[in-house]
Symmetry: C2
Subunit: 255 residues, 2 copies
């Protein structure tokens, strides 16, 4: 997939008050050292705020196909939506994707499995409708949480553990091939998010996924990423995003 490399910068369009799905994109941009603007986080008199996000989504004639939802990436004339597509695109341009076509397909497969886990985790606190508040669907959330914690969370984290464990080319230090890729960043973010939202349940499962824990610690120490995570560009986890800490939805603390 050879594309002419642009000299210009990337523009990210995403909600400025949450990590959300946009954070998967931010991690790839930051870790690769790419030059980018987080448009909605600019002051409104410099073209920031929510206006530009709404505008780019409504402009079906100038951007075809217009995005269905943020995150949205603008790279020169190209406007892209869908987290997995954007992350793959930036990673392929900046060297964070695997080298071969087959491995790029495999990376995309893993990325979409992360995306599935993100939806399932989000929907624990929003099982009825994304258009309602958590407070309006607390009873249903309380019913969804236990099976998520006991079945899905171990299944997803155990899956990534087994993928790392089977990666002999990477000496069991990354998911795919011999070096970390954008998919390692995505699994890092997924693990951090679940740890924030469900600390007790995460601790119990993570005790049995040592290679995943090592991978998360290793990603956490990557120079550019560490600098980002300590900066005020990293929005703290909060109760408006995907990963929300509602203690009543977490399991009991392991003794």
């Amino acid at each position: 997939m050879a594309m002419t490399k642009r000299r210009g910068r990337y523009e990210l369009y995403y909600w400025p008050f949450i990590q959300g799905r946009g954070e998967f994109v931010r991690l790839v941009l930051e870790d690769s050292g790419a030059e980018y603007v987080d448009v909605a986080r600019l002051p409104e008199d410099q073209g920031g705020g929510l206006g530009p996000i709404v505008e780019i989504m409504q402009d079906h004639l100038r951007h075809h196909p217009a995005p269905f939802a943020p995150p949205i990436l603008k790279a020169g004339d190209l406007v892209l939506a869908q987290t997995a597509v954007i992350c793959r695109f930036i990673a392929e341009e900046t060297g964070l994707a695997p080298a071969t076509a087959a491995d790029r397909l495999r990376a995309d497969q893993l990325m979409l499995t992360v995306a599935d886990a993100v939806v399932e985790t989000h929907d624990v606190h929003h099982p009825i409708s994304g258009g309602l508040y958590y407070e309006d669907q607390k009873d249903e959330a309380a019913r969804r949480a236990p099976t998520f914690i006991s079945e899905r969370l171990p299944k997803y984290l155990g899956y990534f553990e087994s993928v790392i464990s089977a990666n002999s080319a990477g000496k069991r230090r990354c998911l795919l091939g011999s070096d970390a890729t954008y998919v390692d960043l995505a699994v890092f973010q997924l693990a951090k998010g679940i740890e924030y939202a469900f600390p007790n349940s995460f601790a119990r499962v993570a005790a049995g996924t040592p290679r995943l824990s090592e991978l998360v610690a290793r990603v956490d120490e990557r120079t550019r990423l560490r600098e980002y995570l300590e900066s005020d560009r990293r929005i703290p986890f909060n109760e408006w995003g995907i990963f929300r800490h509602y203690p009543e939805l977490d399991g009991p603390k392991t003794p």
Copy 2:
């Protein structure tokens, strides 16, 4: 993304009793005229049944990364999972993908929007857990259905209508570029599935999406696809798949 063209056939691994996510793959295989085997639908004494699906998912050492879930495609030595990745791969090999790299990214963006719609539609009848029966979450489903029908269904179908309407290169006859691609097949399947599951609500929305209706009718008439849809290879919609007709979840009939 140039890959050597294989002479061999594709092998699809998917649940043999439902359309499900595998149907999006089957449509691309059938419409492109590709040679393939729907492995689990073979008799068990010819290597069919559920055994081969379980086997390929558990073999983390031979297939890295092993699939998290079906559908799974085997193409020579390459084993791929995730519906959107598989469909894109086959489409690029068989000529059902757009010609340029940028348009392939855009097609993938649309495909993942279809995938999002599929999850939301499925979860109407399974808002609490995929591990429970519908009968065990009927109350929550009855609460989820109205907002799905009144907000999400019109939003998704209206979105695809606007994408078709803005595609001047395709004379407003397909989603992207001048010819139908695998994404048109996916939107066809999504529309057919929603029409089966929510006939009253679909009819009401479809009255306002004429270009989408035309696209669905046009895909329906494609020679190889029509032959497939009339064959016994097309599993009928049923109440085990993604799109289930539970009349109590549909809205009222438009007078």
